[in-house]
């Protein structure tokens, strides 16, 4: 198959690629480009698609908007709350699931379930779990003598609730990826480490963690990117609101609100571009270091 590309063949290939290409261009590339231009529309008639003025005003608006900074801060808080905990918990569970235990397949399925269930459906269950009077969570805490917490209505606890839900939701995916990473580690290293006098914890620290670091790195970046984009969970958990007193308003919620709530397309696009930039930077880091971290 290593003959030269001919015009005929290229045309044929393009024909095969066309359907997917059309969809991607229409629903991904075009919006990305369009919203980039939109972020510079300062005076715009949405219905007639007429632009009266362009400029950097939208960016000025968001950078001067305390709500924007608050939502960005909330998002950062969310990322910091979710990513490390999620990684540690899923690594521990993956390590346990990687042992020779009974019903391993069953456990894997159970842990994978959150990943394949709908956020909206699951959020309803979590609203019940978090319920201040009838929720299981408060019931359990009550067993330890902790008085009920207004998880979803107290501004201090809204973000932790969201973080708990997001961690739970991300476990399945992270565990599967970690399991694949663990299985890629040659068993010989563990045998050698045993001979060299390393106990279980030392083996985990000196063999598993370093040899798993490419996987951990990948998961971190993907989790960070996904956490920056969090929206469904907020929307579903707080019934369409960004938490009590906007305490769980994330950047995507801010964009959503500017767009559908205030019909301020230029500002929404500008905010979206700030988010895009953040994600883009993390993607570059992943691409750059992802190649380096390898044995």
């Amino acid at each position: 198959m290593n003959d030269k590309p001919t015009l005929n063949k290229t045309l044929k290939a393009v024909l095969y690629l066309l359907p997917a290409l059309v969809i991607i261009v229409t629903f991904s590339i075009y919006p990305i480009v369009k919203s980039f231009f939109m972020s510079f529309y300062t005076d715009y008639d949405y219905f007639k698609d007429l632009v009266y003025a362009r400029g950097l005003d939208n960016y000025k608006v968001i950078f001067e908007d305390p709500e924007f900074w608050k939502s960005l801060g909330n998002t950062l808080l969310f990322v910091v709350g979710v990513v490390p905990l999620s990684i540690i918990i899923s690594l521990v569970i993956a390590t346990l699931l990687n042992q020779k235990i009974k019903f391993r397949g069953l456990f894997r399925t159970i842990y994978f379930l959150p990943f394949v269930t709908s956020v909206v459906a699951v959020s309803i269950v979590w609203r019940w779990i978090f319920h201040s009077q009838y929720g299981v969570l408060n019931y359990f805490l009550g067993l330890f003598g902790i008085s009920p917490i207004n998880w979803l209505t107290d501004p201090t606890w809204a973000m932790p609730s969201l973080v708990i839900l997001a961690i739970w939701k991300g476990l399945g995916y992270n565990i599967i990826i970690f399991l694949a990473g663990l299985q890629n580690i040659n068993q010989q290293y563990y045998l050698a480490a045993k001979i060299d006098g390393a106990g279980a914890w030392e083996r985990f620290k000196n063999i598993t963690v370093p040899l798993l670091s490419p996987t951990t790195f990948f998961i971190s970046i993907v989790s960070i990117i996904n956490s920056f984009k969090v929206f469904d969970e907020v929307y579903a958990l707080f019934g369409g609101q960004p938490g009590p007193a906007g305490s769980a308003e994330t950047i995507v919620y801010y964009i959503y609100n500017k767009f559908y709530g205030e019909w301020d397309f230029g500002v929404a696009s500008a905010a979206a571009y700030v988010l895009f930039l953040v994600i883009f930077i993390f993607t570059l880091i992943q691409l750059y270091f992802g190649k380096k971290v390898n044995y």
Binding site: A192, A193, K194, I195, D196, G197, N206, L211
Partner: protein
């Protein structure tokens, strides 16, 4: 440390890899585990290391029953068949790892690791990662890592298989030297008989998980317990001829050519009479008989090859091919009929059904 294996057996799902092994290894000895591929050498080593738990039997280190002791508490060093160097650590860190686990202070650990590295001649590679080393260099790192914590028992799983012939020779002498210097009990797995013969105090020869013979290398060569041992050792291999024994229990009749051969003494086991036998003669135990009166085997020359110092004669006795090592002084050509004498006491006789050596 003295090692005792009592009825050690290892069963996997469908195979018995090691079958009732009974061996005692004296303190400070170097013992080679020898045998064809798949005979259970690595499995035996893994049981000694504690990486496998024997399905049956008892394993003693000194007076201590160690069946249930975890490898990390056995005070052993091991070189794996594929090295198993830690890929994320440099050579120096690899060698230091056992010391780090033993909580040796860093400075001392580094000094000892460097000393070990110098001993195996890799002190110029300390900052490299294992993936940047050749197979032979990796093997030496593995040996250094195994020795650095001064273990009580050193286990080597074919540690020299990836070296070139010269380095191999050098390294095996090195291993022997270190072993004798440290006085460490060592078990050395190999399927290279010459390697086993040259460095070990004792050789344990296995086949299909069973012990065939356990003795000093020269004894094993000279007095093989059975035909398998006789055939496994020696290069070129021993010549085997189907034979019968006449009624006096002392005269062997070769089946093909009806030639006869006198044993020095009647065979010891009269129960084995009247069966089928096999006569085994090593190539170097033949010599060319010039005195036509003396007894010998009349053979037809096929080919004479020069191998190093000697000549290797390929000849035919009836239908059977044989090899003999002969002095290069005698000129022999293809097709020549010659008489081969057998050095006194060097003929072996095996029971052809059980393979037992009937003379020793």
């Amino acid at each position: 440390m003295k090692i005792q294996l009592k009825d050690i057996t290892m069963r996997f799902d469908h195979t018995t890899a090691v079958d009732h092994l009974n061996v005692t290894i004296e303190e400070g000895k170097l013992v080679s585990l020898l045998g064809p591929s798949g005979c259970g050498k690595s499995t035996t080593l893994y049981m000694l290391a504690g990486l496998y738990r024997p399905s049956e039997g008892e394993l003693y280190f000194g007076e201590r029953l160690v069946n249930k002791i975890e490898p990390e508490n056995r005070e052993i060093g091991m070189v794996f068949q594929n090295y198993a160097l830690y890929p994320h650590l440099t050579v120096l860190k690899n060698i230091m790892f056992p010391l780090k686990m033993a909580k040796v202070p860093k400075k001392e650990a580094e000094a000892r690791a460097k000393e070990m590295a110098a001993l195996v001649q890799i002190d110029h590679l300390l900052d490299r990662k294992p993936s940047q080393l050749s197979g032979g260099q990796q093997q030496r790192v593995a040996i250094a890592r195994a020795l650095v914590k001064k273990p009580k028992l050193l286990l080597l799983d074919e540690p020299l298989s990836n070296l070139d012939a010269r380095l191999r020779l050098e390294m095996r002498e090195e291993i022997r030297r270190i072993q004798q210097e440290v006085g460490i009990t060592t078990i050395f797995v190999t399927h290279d008989q010459e390697e086993a013969m040259s460095i070990s105090d004792h050789v344990l020869l296995m086949k299909d998980g069973r012990m065939q013979q356990y003795s000093a290398p020269q004894d094993m060569y000279d007095y093989p317990k059975n035909k398998f041992v006789a055939q496994f050792l020696g290069n070129p291999p021993i010549n085997i001829f189907p034979a019968k024994l006449s009624d006096d229990l002392q005269t062997i009749v070769l089946q093909d050519t009806r030639e006869t051969l006198q044993l020095e003494a009647p065979i010891s086991d009269p129960a084995a009479m009247n069966g089928d036998y096999e006569l085994g003669i090593r190539p170097e135990d033949f010599y060319i008989e010039t005195d036509s009166v003396k007894a010998g085997l009349k053979v037809e020359t096929i080919r004479v090859e020069r191998i190093g110092r000697d000549n290797l004669l390929n000849a035919k006795l009836g239908q059977i091919n044989l090899r003999a090592i002969i002095s290069p002084d005698v000129k022999i050509n293809k097709g020549d009929m010659i008489t081969l004498g057998i050095r006194p006491g060097r003929a072996r006789l095996f029971d052809s059904s059980s393979g037992h050596n009937l003379l020793h």
